[in-house]
Subunit: 466 residues, 2 copies
C-alpha cells in the first residue's frame, strides 16, 4: 500500500513536471557559414520523421519508439520571420541538390512533439506533447554583447589594439581617413558618414576574407538602419588613458562627443533590444562552429575565430557578476557547442574535431562550468554530404571520403588530419589542411542523412521526452 | 511716445513669435517616382545657395536679400536614415548627369536657415535663424491609413471589389489559389505563406505596371518583416454582409481568424507606429504627384492614381470626426500639392497641369478646405531637365522642348496638350499623350535650375522668414 501510494505520488510529480515543461524554447546560433540553416532544417526534418524513417538511435524516446513525430504550429510572435523550412527542403530536393539559402536576422518555427511517456501508470496519459519553439539568429549579434561593457573610450581602445597584418590591410582606407581627425574639432556629419562607410567596408571585406571577430555586428546587416547616424560611428585610434577626462569634457558638437553619442545609441537601440526581447527568453542553446573552415583558412583567421568565439560565449556566462546576468536575467539552462560539417573529414578524425573545439573554447568553457551551466561539445553533420570509404594504396588501407564537389565533380579524397589541440606554427608550415566544399547528396527518402544529430537532439531536448 | 511703446510691444511680440517658431518640421511625400528625391535635393540646394546664385524671386526673404543661406546640422533622431543629399548632388554632377537613386523608407535632414528679419527695430536682432527639419517618406505608407478604419471583414470587401481588368489580370495566380479556400478550415501556415506571396507578387507586378492604389503598402517594402507572419495575410474575396457574425465566431485556429489576427497585427505594429512616431510631428507637408506620368500610362492607371491619391489625402483630412484626428492628433497646419516634372510639357500647358491636379484631388480638396487646412496647388520642376523653345513649322510658331533623353539623344519635341479637366474617353481615344524621359542638364554652377520651386518654398516656409 505504501509503495502503491509512493507510485501515485511519483506519477503526480511526473504529471506536474510535464505540465510545467510543456514548452521549450531552443535557440540555434553560429557565425555566418557555420551551418545554422542546415542544422535547423535537419532538426525539424528528423523530428518530423522521428516515428518513421529517421535514424535517431542516440535519442532514447526515438529508439524506444515513444516519439511519435512533430507537427508545425502557428508561431506566437507575428513580427518574427518564420524559419523557411519548406524552401530549405525544396533546395535539398532539387536536382542536383542545392544547399538552402542562408537566413539573415532572426527566424522562428514552432513544433508540437507528440510522445508516449517512458513510465506508464494510472495517471500517465497514453500520449503527451511538448511545444518546441525553435529560433535561429546570427552569432554576429552576440559579438556585440561586449560592446555593452564599454563606453566609447574603452571600446575605441579595445577595437584598435593590434589585429593581424592581413586584417589591418583591409582597413587602410579608413585608417588613412581617421588618422587626421581631431577629437575636439566640430563634428562634420558628411565626414563621419564617409569614414563610417569606409569602416563598414573594412568589416565587409574582413567578413568576406573569412574573419569573424567583427564589431559592430549591425554594420554588416544594417536593415532599416541603413544610412542612419546610429550606424555612423567608428572607434578612434590612438587614445591614451590619460586623455579620458579631457575627452569626456569636450562639447556635445565635437567629433568625439558625437561619436560617443552614436555609440551609446547603438548600445541602447540595437544591442539591448535583442537581449531583452529574444535572448532572455531562450531555454536552451546550441552554438555551431565551423572549425574545419577556419583550419582551411590559415592561422590568422583561425586566431580570429578563436577571439570571436570567446566574445560570443560571454553571452552564456551567467556568473553572478556577469554583465548579462545583471542586465537581462537570462535563463538558458543547457548549452551545446558543436563543430559542424564533420562529414568533411574522415570518421577517425571526429574525436580530434571535438578536442580541437574544446581547446578553441577552453577559457569560456571553464567559466561556464564554474558558473554551473551544463555544456556539452559535439562534432556533427546536420546534413551529411559525403560517404566514408576505405581505400587501399600500395597495400595500405586508409580512410577517405567520397562526395560531389559544388562544381559537380565526383571525388574521393583524404582532406587531412585534424589537430587535437590548438595548432602551432609548425602545423601551418608543414601540414596544412584542405577540404573541398561538397554539395548535398541526392536522396531516395524524405529523411536527411546526418552524423550525430541524434546525440545533439538528446542533449538539447531528450530530458523533456521522458 | 504711445506709438513708440506700440512699436516696442510689436517688436517684443515678433521676438517671442520667432522664439516659438524657431523650428519647423517639413515633410515631403508622394507615390514612388513622383519626384521626392529630386524635390528634396533641389530644396536643400536652393536654400543653401539662397544668398548667392539661387533664383528664388517668388520667395520674398530671398528676393529682398534677407535670406543668408542654410547650413546642415546634426539631426536629432539617430535611428532615422539621413537624406543622402551629397550622393544626390554627386549623381547630378556626373557626366553625363544622372538622376539620384530613389530613397526607400523615411529619411531626414536638418538645416539651419539664417536670415535678416523683415522689420528692424531696437529689439530685433540683426540676423536670426530657423531650424528646418526635412523629412521624406513613401506616399505608399499613407495608403495604409484607410486600413485602420477597417476590420478584416470590411477590408476584404473593400479590397476585392471591382478593379479594372488590367489590374485583375496581374492577380490571377492569387485569385486561383484563394478561390478554393474555406474560411472555417484550420489554417495551414505554409498555404497562407504561399498565397500571401502570390498576393505580394500581384502588388509588385501592379506597381511595376504603373498602378498606385496598393495595400498593404509594406508588402512592397518588407524590410526586416520579410518572411514574418505579420506580412502573410490577404483579403478574402466573396464575403457577404450576412456572413459576418458567423465568420467572427470561428475558432482562433481557423483560416479566417488567423488572417484577421495578422491583419490586426499589421494595423498595430506597422501602420500605427508611423503615424504615432513620425507623421504626428510634422508641421507642414508637400505631396508630389506625377500627373504627367499617369497621363502617359493610359486611362486605367490614371483612374488608379486618382483612387490612390484620394486614399492618401485622407491622412490630411483633420475634420473633427476623422479617424486620424481621433487617433493621433496630427498638427500639419499647411499643405502643398504639386504636379511635378512640369518641365516635361511646354510652359503654355502649366496652367492646365494645375487645373488637372486640382480636378484629380477635387474631393479631398473640398474636405480639406471644409476642415480649414490651408492648401495650395502648384506645378513645378524641382530640377529642370529641358529648355522651352519656339519652333516655326509651315509658317506657324509653336512651343517645343529641347532636352536629352535618358539614352543620350538630343531631341526637340512637343509632348502634347494637358487636359484641364479629368480626361474623358475621347481624350484617350483621339489624342493621347506621350513625353520622353529626359536626363538632367549639365550645369556650370552649383545651383540647380528649377521651375517654381521658389513659389512652393514661399508657401511652405516663407511666413517663418519675416
Amino acid at each position: 500500500m505504501a509503495s502503491e501510494r509512493g507510485k501515485i505520488s511519483r506519477e503526480l510529480t511526473d504529471l506536474l513536471a510535464r505540465g510545467r515543461d510543456r514548452q521549450l524554447r531552443l535557440a540555434v546560433t553560429g557565425l555566418s557559414r557555420a551551418g545554422k540553416t542546415a542544422f535547423l532544417t535537419s532538426l525539424v526534418n528528423q523530428l518530423r520523421h522521428a516515428g518513421l524513417e529517421a535514424r535517431l538511435d542516440m535519442l532514447p524516446a526515438a529508439r524506444e519508439g515513444r516519439l511519435l513525430g512533430a507537427q508545425r504550429l502557428n508561431q506566437q510572435d507575428l513580427g518574427v520571420p518564420r524559419f523557411p523550412y519548406d524552401q530549405a527542403m525544396a533546395a535539398l530536393n532539387d536536382s542536383p541538390p542545392r544547399w538552402p539559402e542562408p537566413t539573415r536576422g532572426i527566424s522562428e518555427l514552432r513544433l508540437q512533439l507528440r510522445y508516449r511517456p517512458a513510465r506508464s501508470g494510472w495517471l500517465t496519459p497514453q500520449t503527451t506533447s511538448l511545444t518546441l519553439d525553435l529560433f535561429d539568429y546570427p552569432g554576429e549579434w552576440l559579438l556585440d554583447l561586449p560592446l555593452l561593457q564599454h563606453d566609447f573610450f574603452s571600446w575605441s581602445q579595445a577595437q584598435t589594439r593590434a589585429h593581424g597584418p592581413q586584417r589591418r590591410a583591409l582597413f587602410t582606407d579608413w585608417q588613412e581617413g581617421v588618422a587626421a581627425l581631431d577629437p575636439a574639432a566640430e563634428a562634420d556629419e558628411a565626414q563621419l558618414a564617409e569614414l563610417a562607410e569606409r569602416y563598414a567596408q573594412g568589416l565587409r571585406r574582413a567578413k568576406k576574407a573569412g574573419f569573424s571577430d567583427l564589431q559592430p555586428g549591425r554594420f554588416l546587416l544594417p536593415g532599416e538602419l541603413e544610412g542612419a547616424p546610429a550606424l555612423q560611428f567608428f572607434p578612434l585610434p590612438g587614445l591614451f588613458d590619460t586623455q579620458r577626462a579631457e575627452l569626456d569634457a569636450l562639447p556635445a558638437d565635437s567629433l568625439y562627443a558625437t561619436l560617443a553619442q552614436r555609440f551609446r545609441y547603438y548600445q541602447q537601440h540595437v544591442v539591448r533590444p535583442f537581449y531583452r526581447d529574444h535572448f532572455r527568453r531562450f531555454d536552451r542553446q546550441i552554438v555551431l562552429v565551423d572549425v574545419l573552415g577556419a583550419l582551411n583558412a590559415g592561422p590568422e583567421r583561425f586566431d580570429d575565430l578563436s577571439r570571436a568565439l570567446n566574445h560570443l560565449m560571454q553571452s552564456f556566462d551567467y556568473g553572478k557578476r556577469s554583465l548579462l546576468t545583471r542586465l537581462f536575467a537570462p535563463k538558458i539552462d543547457r548549452l551545446a557547442i558543436a563543430a559542424t560539417k564533420a562529414d568533411h573529414v574522415t570518421p577517425d578524425q571526429h574525436p580530434n574535431l571535438i578536442h580541437l573545439l574544446e581547446a578553441l573554447l577552453a577559457e569560456p568553457l571553464q567559466d561556464l562550468r564554474f558558473a554551473d551551466v551544463p555544456v556539452k561539445a559535439f562534432s556533427l553533420a546536420a546534413i551529411r554530404a559525403t560517404q566514408a570509404r576505405e581505400i587501399t594504396q600500395q597495400g595500405q588501407q586508409s580512410a577517405a571520403l567520397r562526395g560531389t564537389t559544388l562544381e559537380g565533380e565526383e571525388v574521393l579524397v583524404y582532406p587531412g588530419d585534424v589537430p587535437a589541440t590548438l595548432p602551432e606554427a609548425t602545423f601551418w608550415d608543414q601540414q596544412g589542411f584542405n577540404f573541398p566544399a561538397f554539395r548535398p547528396m541526392p536522396r531516395t527518402t524524405d529523411v536527411l542523412a546526418h552524423i550525430r544529430m541524434d546525440s545533439a537532439i538528446d542533449w538539447l531536448i531528450g530530458d523533456k521526452l521522458t
